[in-house]
């Protein structure tokens, strides 16, 4: 695909190596802060609910994406839910292989239209099924910092 003259040596094409080192902070916002504060301090999940549209948002949003109204009422929706879907992942974000595959699930939180994407813990792969009930496993309170990794994963519900 050379423009005018054919390149005849495969070692001829050259390049310059570059990188773009950019770092960010990502502001939680009002709804995100409420959500992570509840996990950190109370060990529970908060949602916002739009009564008009009958939609319950987890993670909570400060506005309803359907009727476009502001949402200010937070409700405690607990930490139980069910497996909406799942996958067994063998690679990390950078493409490298995991030492051990992990089961990642989209967990629909009970009584809500949202959920949390996290790992299943203590459930063998051949026993995982769509619809199976699960409950969040959180880190001990002293270790929680306010972030999605305060959740260790989801396991069988505690009775």
């Amino acid at each position: 695909m050379s423009i005018s003259e054919k390149i005849t040596k495969t070692t001829t094409p050259t390049y310059w190596e570059g990188e773009i080192p950019v770092n960010y902070i990502y502001t939680f916002g009002l709804a995100g802060e409420a959500f992570f504060r509840a996990i950190k301090d109370k060990g529970t999940f908060l949602a916002t609910r739009c009564e008009e549209c009958e939609v319950t948002f987890v993670p909570p949003k400060a506005y309803c994406d359907r009727c476009f109204e502001k949402l200010e009422k937070y409700v405690d929706v607990g930490t139980t839910g069910y497996v909406e879907t799942y996958t067994v992942t063998f690679r990390n974000m950078d493409g490298s292989a995991k030492k051990l595959p992990r089961i990642l699930a989209m967990v629909r939180i009970d009584g809500t239209d949202g959920g949390i994407i996290h790992y299943l813990q203590g459930i063998p792969f051949d026993e995982v099924a769509i619809g199976m009930p699960v409950q969040a496993i959180l880190k001990p309170k002293a270790e929680r910092v306010g972030g999605i990794e305060d959740i260790v994963g989801f396991g069988p519900p505690k009775r």
């Binding site: 695909m1 050379s2 423009i3 390149i7 495969t10 001829t12 094409p13 390049y15 190596e17 570059g18 773009i20 960010y24 990502y26 939680f28 995100g32 948002f57 987890v58 993670p59 949003k61 994406d65 909406e84 879907t85 799942y86 996958t87 067994v88 992942t89 063998f90 690679r91 990390n92 974000m93 950078d94 493409g95 595959p101 990642l104 699930a105 989209m106 239209d113 949202g114 959920g115 949390i116 994407i117 996290h118 790992y119 769509i130 972030g147 999605i148 990794e149």
Partner: protein, 383 residues
């Protein structure tokens, strides 16, 4: 008043896994020269230019500033859309319909082989607060969706593997394709697991290449001669970016984009009227899910339609005869470009060994890939 908009010229480099000899700008230059030659027009005669690119993919902040030179757009009305080629096509269509432009050139390319950390780059698209901290492969989002799609539609991994066999086999007849291969379902299911039920061969591999197309209003198209390929319908749609609030089984973004395009084209019965389609198969199951969203069949019937042979070259509604993204290569924002290229070649009757006989209406559909829920649909005809 402008009544219709046509594609009057198209050019491409073809698609390769690597292109170490040329820069991305030279790739585009080649495609542009071919497109302008095909249309019989000089870039100086073109009214406006629209390119599709995304900063992270290009490795530049404000990548759009690096587009004009190689398409002949210096000191001309030019804009870059951070979306697929089909979004650029929609923009070019609208520019011409205003009457302010007689001709518009549109461009998209992929130089994926230059991105050294392409997995990380795709991972950076995940929500930084709720999803990215797990440092999961972005393919896991597709794995989650595939499980749910298969559950809701009673589709099997074997049936998804048949999409790969069909499309990579189709690519054997496409000289532009990077990944033509004669595979078996066993090859697909036996390839390494990436995010089960997704195996390595269920996932389209990246390729490099560029496509440029020239659009014109009906009068200009007739004056230029050749075979104008008309844009009869176009639609696009985006679902919420919040993965946790999504419907994980259905591709609603594709259904709604298709409804918009069908309405514009006056198509009430897609299966009866669309002669062939190039649709997004960046993951094997996506072709089946998108067939249902495009109303080629009812929900849960796509795998049966595939197995019946209806979507093969000889079938009643051939799908991804080019080889699709699985066979041609995953081209990021140029994904829609290779689909439009295939539609134009088929509708002109220039598709050689893979020519589908007697075609008048073709459909192109794209999805912007994980974790997006953005899709676009275009309907082209040669009548």
């Amino acid at each position: 008043m402008v009544k219709r908009v046509a594609i009057v010229g198209i050019g491409t480099t073809g698609f390769r896994p690597v292109t170490p000899d040329v820069s991305f700008r030279e790739l585009i230059f080649e495609a542009a020269r071919k497109a302008y030659s095909d249309a019989g027009i000089e870039p100086s005669e073109i009214g406006g230019f629209v390119t599709a690119a995304e900063d992270f993919l290009e490795g530049y902040s404000i990548a759009d500033e690096y587009c004009p030179d190689q398409i002949g757009a210096v000191l001309k009305p030019t804009q870059t859309i951070p979306g697929d080629f089909l979004h650029a096509l929609a923009t070019g269509y609208m520019m011409i319909m205003t009457g302010a432009f007689k001709t518009v050139a549109i461009e998209a390319h992929s130089k994926a082989s230059n991105v050294k950390t392409i997995d990380d780059m795709m991972g950076f698209a995940l929500d930084p607060v709720y999803n990215r901290p797990l440092r999961e492969t972005p393919h896991a989002i597709a794995g989650l969706e595939m499980t749910r799609y298969m559950f809701e539609t009673c589709t099997s991994s074997e049936q998804c593997a048949k999409v790969v066999v069909k499309n990579r086999g189709n690519a054997m007849r496409n000289p532009y394709a990077a990944f033509a291969a004669e595979l078996t379902e066993k090859d697909v299911l036996g390839s390494e697991p990436v995010s089960l039920p997704l195996h390595r061969l269920d996932i389209a591999q990246h390729a490099d290449g560029a496509v440029v197309a020239v659009l014109a209003d009906d009068q200009t198209a007739q004056a230029l001669g050749g075979t104008p390929i008309w844009i009869d319908g176009i639609g696009w749609c985006t679902d919420t970016p919040t993965l946790e609030m999504r419907d994980w089984g259905e591709a609603a973004y594709a259904r709604i984009a298709a409804e918009m395009a069908y309405r514009m084209a006056g198509i009430a019965n897609p299966r009866g009227l669309v002669d062939f389609a190039e649709i997004c198969d960046e993951y094997s199951y996506k072709e089946l899910q998108h067939m249902e969203a495009l109303k080629f069949c009812n929900r849960g019937e796509a795998a049966d339609m595939l197995e019946s042979g209806a979507t093969s070259l000889q079938g009643e509604l051939p799908v991804n005869i080019s080889g699709g993204a699985l066979g041609v290569g995953h081209l990021f924002e140029a994904s829609g470009a290779h689909k439009i290229l295939e539609l134009v070649e088929q509708l002109r009757g220039h598709a050689g060994a893979r020519q589908i006989p007697d075609v008048n209406i073709g459909l192109a559909q794209v999805w912007r890939g994980v974790p997006t829920a953005t899709g676009a649909v275009a309907i082209l005809s040669n009548m």
